[in-house]
């Protein structure tokens, strides 16, 4: 078991101009091989133009129990969304 290849999280940019998106994971002995494996595993159907790999245990994640404090405060700041403001039609596109 001690010799299991580490797990990598794979992020792929599907089209030029888009963000990288998490598509899944795989095992590889190192980052270079992880990129190659990602190319073989996750772009078999022309899905990508750029690949990022991150070793899974290097990802720091927020804890689910922090969900309230982390995200709920932003729910009350509705003025951050453009739809908050009524703009008269005569003004035109904005």
């Amino acid at each position: 078991m001690k010799n299991e290849w580490p797990l990598w999280e794979i992020f792929i940019r599907g089209q030029h101009g888009m963000s990288h998106r998490h598509v899944g994971s795989l095992h590889a002995p190192d980052a270079e091989m992880a990129i190659k494996n990602a190319r073989d595993v996750y772009t078999r159907r022309n899905e990508g133009v750029s690949i990022w790999v991150v070793e899974a245990n290097h990802i720091a994640a927020s804890s689910p129990s922090d969900k309230g404090p982390l995200y709920e405060p932003s729910e009350s700041k509705v003025y951050r969304h453009p739809t908050f403001f009524d703009i008269p039609e005569e003004v035109g596109a904005m």
């Binding site: 078991m1 010799n3 299991e4 290849w5 797990l7 795989l26 091989m33 689910p64």
Partner: protein
């Protein structure tokens, strides 16, 4: 299905937490790996996803059996791409299981020493080229029945893996039907192969859904947790209803003489497979159980030096880089 007869684990958790958990599932929320979950939910899912993953990997063998004998370059490429997809599906599913704290190597070892199962269907042989068509059309067709609803399963990583798999899976059923259709419309020898394949694989395909689950309490728990979406009988009926007209379209004889449209039910009547045979296969006495496990064990054992070698090189390389800095 690919995960057959997965027993739900009993759960002995704090009733308040359990109720809150069930409420989240009932509200259609996805459970993510770091969320609190009942121990039984976790264990059942590891078993179910693991079995599903193993089925994909062992499932490479009966079809891989024909890659070197595919009759045209195009068929060879299609079959190879298809069996490669199975490996990919196994990989996605192992990764989904790994989010729950079990490693792929641990799961693999449980498959190899018989502690974990894979679908009964892959213990049947592929004996003629039409089997390749029939496996894609009937076996993958049956699997899709189960996999499409599982895209809505409550566990996030499992659901995402199923979404990816389903996207790729419709290619499988279509290439299978296309291959067997060519044969059903071909020479008399080809037609004979097609009929032979349907006759041999029909009942094993029906077995994939598992025995009737009307009296199973485990099934009820899994359905409440939304890791099982439909009953075995529902899916089996749906499969029969969908497939019988396709067999007729091909001009092949129905593999079960009792198949008959039932106006009242609005479904086809059909015969149950021989469940005693099913239980023998599950116990290890199918036509190919021993060979399949031996092939997986050999690949794993023969590959150990490769996995170790590449890892050792990566470590050396990292150490050299570190020393240079």
């Amino acid at each position: 299905m690919y995960a057959q007869m997965v027993q739900s684990e009993a759960t002995q958790d704090d009733p308040e937490k359990l109720a809150a958990f069930q409420a989240r599932i009932d509200a259609g929320e996805k459970i993510e790996p770091k969320d609190w979950m009942p121990e039984g939910y976790r264990k059942t899912l590891i078993r179910q996803i693991g079995q599903h993953a193993h089925s994909e990997i062992v499932g490479q063998l009966p079809e891989g059996n024909w890659i070197t004998r595919a009759p045209t370059l195009e068929r060879k490429a299609i079959l190879l791409a298809k069996v490669q997809d199975e490996a990919g599906h196994g990989l996605y599913l192992y990764c989904a299981a790994e989010t729950m704290g079990v490693s792929r190597d641990e799961l693999t070892e449980m498959l190899l020493d018989g502690r974990m199962k894979y679908s009964s269907i892959f213990n049947y042989p592929t004996l003629n080229w039409a089997d390749i068509g029939a496996v894609g059309w009937l076996v993958d067709g049956a699997a899709i029945m189960n996999q499409v609803p599982l895209q809505r399963t409550s566990f996030g990583p499992y659901s995402r893996a199923m979404i990816r798999i389903c996207k790729e899976e419709s290619f499988h059923a279509r290439q299978g039907f296309d291959a067997i259709r060519k044969m059903a419309e071909g020479t008399s020898a080809q037609k004979k192969m097609a009929q032979d394949a349907v006759n041999r694989l029909w009942f094993p395909a029906l077995m994939m859904f598992g025995p009737s689950d009307k009296d199973s309490v485990h099934s009820a728990q899994s359905m409440a947790w939304k890791i099982k979406i439909n009953t075995n009988d529902e899916l089996r009926q749906k499969f029969v209803d969908q497939t019988v007209p396709q067999i007729e379209f091909l001009g092949l004889d129905l593999p079960d003489p009792t198949i008959k449209w039932n106006e009242e039910r609005g479904h086809y009547d059909y015969s149950d497979p021989d469940w005693s045979e099913f239980f023998e296969v599950i116990k290890g006495n199918g036509p190919c159980n021993v060979d399949r496990l031996a092939a997986r064990n050999k690949a794993w054992d023969d590959g150990a030096w490769v996995r170790d070698g590449l890892l050792a090189h990566s470590r050396k390389k990292a150490a050299r880089q570190h020393a240079a800095e």
